[in-house]
């Protein structure tokens, strides 16, 4: 159920004093827990918990024909589902626009930063390549599924191996773990979403806090800079506010990276 109006006012007032209900600072993330190997059947997988929010991400590889304009490159496809399992607010039926946006935003960050070395996924030029599928599922929505999904995608990709390809039979042997890891660049890329509440900014909102967010900017970053960006929701931002958002995103990215670093080696 959506947060009551009076509670929303309290959250906003407290934030204007630089404080949050769970005693975090506005630019502080909740505790992040990372697990890999969540599904043995995936080529790579991860479970990310940020506070009570939980997301699982799986990476699967499959054989395919390359696209005509990139005959020697594998392809990336990212889907996301905000599941009805994870929140009473999500109804049954086809994934809504939030799920579609989530998948595309995560995809963009990974694609534009060239994190996956797609040219190394070519088996036979013009005929056979590996396609990489990233699938994201929300398990419990207590806010900030966006960033949890982004971190999950990177960790799952890092966890991924290329399955064995039997050239003679022309098929993939999935249940034998491949020795080769998925070729990834050193550009660990994941998003930080900065939200605007009233005149203040915060990161990693709880579900309650997310109910009063009027604008959010999701910035996919790595050590080299910015790879992707998406502003969401229907508020507007002044250019000075936007500058502040970039600063906060950069600073928070570095802090979160420290927390997840060992899973990205």
């Amino acid at each position: 159920m959506e947060t009551a109006n009076i509670t929303k006012k309290r959250i906003e007032k407290y934030l204007s004093e630089g404080k949050r209900f769970d005693e975090r600072k506005p630019e502080e993330f909740r505790e992040i827990t990372i697990e890999t190997g969540v599904s043995k059947k995936a080529e790579g997988s991860a479970r990310i918990k940020i506070g009570k929010t939980e997301v699982i991400v799986g990476v699967k590889l499959g054989l395919a024909e390359p696209y005509p304009d990139s005959p020697n490159k594998g392809n990336l496809m990212t889907t996301a589902e905000l599941t009805p399992l994870s929140s009473e607010r999500i109804s049954l039926g086809r994934p809504g626009i939030e799920s579609v946006e989530l998948g595309r935003v995560i995809d963009r960050g990974i694609r534009e930063s060239k994190f996956i070395e797609l040219e190394k996924l070519c088996i036979k030029e013009g005929e056979k390549v590996w396609n990489v599928f990233i699938d994201i599922y929300s398990i419990n929505d207590d806010g900030n599924i966006l960033d949890a999904a982004g971190i999950g995608a990177v960790v799952a990709l890092k966890d991924a191996h290329i399955p064995k390809y039997d050239e003679k039979e022309d098929k993939v042997i999935y249940d034998e773990p491949g020795k080769e890891k998925l070729p990834l660049s050193k550009n660990i890329t994941f998003p930080i979403t900065v939200r605007k509440v009233g005149n203040d900014f915060l990161v990693d909102p709880t579900r309650e806090e997310e109910d009063i967010v009027k604008s959010r900017v999701t910035i996919g970053m790595n050590k080299q800079g910015i790879a992707s960006m998406q502003k969401g929701k229907d508020g507007s931002l002044g250019t000075e506010e936007f500058d502040k958002i970039l600063d906060i995103a950069e600073k928070t990215w570095a802090e979160v990276f420290k927390k997840i670093e060992k899973h990205t080696k």
Binding site: S39, K41, A42, I56, I139
Partner: protein, 232 residues
């Protein structure tokens, strides 16, 4: 020659089971049930007003189950979204649980049960039903009994309990494999049975007897999981 199981289990032995309750904090009730390498989670929301309105039952609440396999739960990736198989299993799950759930007090409402298979190694619908049963109790839904579910099967001529993926999909010797998922209430009544293969009446009865004993064991595990969650 008698059938020997690849993982060394005896014919009436189940794979190791883990059960846990309260795995989805947002849900009114939730649980995880794993057997061997098959992992299922279930989350229950309700009772709440049923939408769309035309699906409301003015006499009692409606149980609505949705079974979904994660795309990466299997070796050959499944395209995300419902399939005919998942729709059928959703309905089977509903029929397996409906006889114990008491929803006369909630006319016009719905109890949603969402089942998600995280890792699949045969017996997924049974694991889903086991998780759902715990989640429903955890959610405070009035129930006469819990429901426990397990598959029995016939490998060539031998009756076995809890088929793993090899036994379910790849075994082809002799008479091949027959797969029989079964669900029973805590007081031994059958609420779900399906069969794929070839079996005679005598062997089927033997299989059901084996399943009944296994369901009693599973029931104890489900009960323990529900009671343990309180001690924190």
């Amino acid at each position: 020659m008698a059938y020997k199981r690849l993982d060394g289990r005896s014919n009436d032995e189940m794979r190791p089971i883990k059960a846990k309750v309260n795995v989805v904090p947002n849900a009114d009730g939730s649980a995880m049930f794993s057997i061997g390498d098959t992992i299922a989670i279930a989350a229950v929301y309700g009772p709440k007003k049923m939408h769309p309105q035309h699906q409301q039952d003015p006499e009692k609440g409606v149980l609505r189950c949705t079974y979904n396999m994660n795309s990466f739960s299997v070796s050959d990736r499944i395209r995300p979204g419902p399939s005919r198989r998942s729709m059928e299993i959703s309905k089977i799950t509903e029929w397996a649980l409906s006889p114990v759930v008491m929803l006369k007090k909630y006319p016009g409402s719905v109890v949603d049960v969402h089942i998600n298979i995280i890792q699949a190694d045969a017996g997924t619908r049974c694991a889903g039903i086991n998780a759902a049963s715990m989640a429903l109790a955890h959610a405070g839904i009035p129930m006469k009994e819990l429901v426990s579910s397990i598959s029995v099967g016939k490998m060539d001529k031998t009756i076995v309990l809890d088929l793993d993926k090899y036994e379910d999909s790849d075994f082809e010797e002799g008479e091949g494999s027959t797969d029989i998922p079964i669900s029973m209430t805590g007081d031994g009544k059958l609420t779900h049975i399906q069969l794929d293969g070839k079996i005679d009446k005598k062997q089927l009865k033997e299989g059901i007897k084996m399943a009944k004993k296994a369901c009693e064991e599973i029931h104890e595990i489900q009960k323990k999981a529900l009671k343990e969650t309180i001690k924190k």
